[in-house]
């Protein structure tokens, strides 16, 4: 384990050589997607130039190597999530597909008319719409755990909403819009006590700290590779084996079958059953390489460092009376959202962009949350393992510039 040094780590990310309007890149949009370490491209290069072939069923060396590399990636994901059984890991395109897969397949087996699915008011559209679609098809109902003005879940209300009809609780680990960290273990214990299952949307959490699905005791955990410094088009769903085995397949095609006749098709075992067609082989392998890289990092120091960066943002913004923070969660990770009275987030984004600063302005795919705070959009700054104090300083100077341009 190397001593953590954000400036040294940053050099592993080639994009920071890029100039934006002649200025260095200040990237504060890791929550939308993280930048890529050098190792990712190296692993793709090595795979494409030395080992590329389709996997499974290949009887020649390249295909054998590709298969081993793909399955090794599954292993790495399993270990990174804290499970010993790689068969509990299903590769998908990303968190969105993962949630759709679970909603659809879990729904078919376990959700009947009148049943309830519980989500929270903090959720990303990806953890709302798939459940809406499923409950509508199955005559079930969607219930919403309320939040308070800080952006924390209302745990008392949660307990009341959990009933015998609740089949699934689907909550985010960390809110992408506010940074709220949810008390997952508490939520899953309560859900299980009521006989409900729990899916955790880990899209925003995993990049800030390794997690352990066994300690969380969740039934499903989903994430996207591209937010974990990995490639696009790959992500994974962890699911408890007993549960996976009860679910029908999601998509049909090659590799997910055991045998096909026109009359009857039997399906392969988990996880192949849920991976129809040629998967994103290079994507999985690239994700595995990035996980190897992440495992060499000193996460205790990174957690402290990222918290410091978030605190610096909060402190810097506090200097401007015009700035209003949105959400003050008890536990926060990676993200700060705010608005400036009389300046639309989009205009703030444009002005910061000319300073080389990348932030996100918008509803962050969390419109119900925006509605809760009665705003159409926020400005969101989010940090990553490569964020430096200089980034935050540039950002705060940028905000000053925004106020100047708008003569506020």
């Amino acid at each position: 384990m190397k001593k953590f040094d954000p400036h040294a780590l940053r050099r592993e990310f080639p994009i920071f050589n890029r100039k934006i309007f002649g200025k260095p890149l200040t990237y504060l949009d890791s929550a939308a997607s993280a930048q890529k370490p050098r190792i990712l491209l190296e692993s793709l290069k090595s795979f494409f130039e030395n080992h590329y072939a389709n996997i499974h069923r290949g009887v020649y060396l390249l295909s054998f190597e590709a298969t081993e590399m793909y399955e090794a990636a599954r292993n790495k994901v399993a270990q990174y999530l804290g499970t010993q059984n790689p068969k509990e890991i299903v590769f998908v395109r990303g968190a969105t597909e993962g949630i759709n897969l679970v909603a659809t397949c879990f729904g078919k087996t376990f959700v009947h008319e009148g049943d309830e699915i519980l989500i929270s008011h903090l959720e990303h559209h990806s953890n709302i719409v798939p459940w809406q679609m499923m409950v509508e098809e199955r005559g079930a109902h969607l219930k919403v755990i309320p939040i308070n003005q800080n952006g924390d879940l209302d745990l008392e209300a949660y307990q009341k909403l959990l009933t015998k009809k609740t089949r699934m609780v689907a909550v985010t680990h960390v809110s992408n819009a506010l940074g709220t960290v949810n008390p997952i273990r508490t939520l899953s214990d309560l859900a299980h006590k009521r006989g409900a299952k729990i899916l955790v949307d880990g899209a925003q959490a995993l990049a800030h700290a390794p997690t352990n699905v066994c300690e969380l005791d969740c039934d499903f955990y989903v994430f996207s590779g591209h937010k974990l410094y990995g490639p696009n088009g790959i992500g994974a769903v962890y699911g408890k084996k007993e549960l996976w085995e009860k679910l029908p397949p999601y998509q049909g095609g090659g590799d997910m079958i055991e045998s096909v006749t026109f009359e009857k098709t039997t399906y392969a075992h988990v996880p192949q059953k849920f991976e129809a067609g040629t998967p994103n082989i290079a994507g999985a392998i690239g994700l595995g390489a990035v996980i190897d890289f992440l495992k060499t990092l000193d996460w205790e120091s990174i957690k402290i460092h990222e918290k410091n960066m978030v605190d610096l943002i909060l402190k810097g913004l506090a200097e401007f009376p015009q700035v209003k923070l949105i959400g003050m969660p008890t536990q926060r990770m990676g993200v700060v959202s705010f608005v400036i009275d009389a300046i639309h987030p989009h205009d703030i984004g444009t002005i910061l962009d000319r300073e080389g600063i990348a932030i996100r302005a918008g509803h962050h795919c969390a419109q119900p949350l925006m509605d809760f705070f009665k705003i159409p959009a926020t400005v969101r700054a989010s940090v990553g393992i490569y964020t430096t104090p200089e980034d935050i300083q540039t950002f705060i100077v940028g905000i000053k510039k925004v106020l100047e341009v708008f003569k506020l």
């Binding site: 639309h344 989009h346 205009d347 002005i351 959009a377």
Partner: protein, 148 residues
């Protein structure tokens, strides 16, 4: 002047803060909704037409400074114009904000102050949202106009 100061010049800031003709016309001849998913801007444009002339036009909605100012100026400039003048003016305006070379002798009035947008290709949609909405209203399109 810097690009930014050019974009957010006094006149534009003023229109964005104090939009003219803000509201909704009662019993409009036609109206339309516009939506820019990029920044979430929404606009409603209602129009009163008499004898082929835009007698009154108002807008409602929330948006960034550029889209609000553009809508506000549009209402000012379009009032009293003939319907068949709209297209050439929109085209001239579009050329202006995209920085295209097409020469035109159309007088854009206050709209000319939006020239700074041409250095911000990402913001062209903000500047033109109200225009697309105007066109939709005139063509009596039912669906919400989207800039994407």
């Amino acid at each position: 002047m810097s690009d930014l100061e050019d974009l957010y010049q006094e006149l534009i800031l003023d229109h964005s803060r104090h939009p003219r003709n803000f509201g909704h016309i009662e019993k409009p001849t036609c109206e339309a909704q516009g939506y820019n998913p990029l920044c979430g801007d929404k606009i409603n444009l209602s129009i009163k037409i008499q004898d082929g002339v835009i007698n009154d036009v108002k807008f409602e909605g929330s948006g960034c400074a550029i889209s609000t100012a553009a809508a506000s100026m549009l209402t000012e400039e379009m009032k009293g114009k003939k319907i068949n003048e709209v297209d050439p003016i929109f085209q001239a305006f579009h050329s202006l904000v995209t920085g295209s070379d097409k020469k035109t002798d159309i007088d854009l009035g206050k709209l000319a102050s939006m020239e700074g947008v041409k250095e911000f290709p990402m913001r062209v949609k903000c500047a033109t949202l109200s225009w697309h909405t105007l066109k939709a209203a005139l063509e009596k399109k039912e669906e919400i106009v989207s800039t994407e």
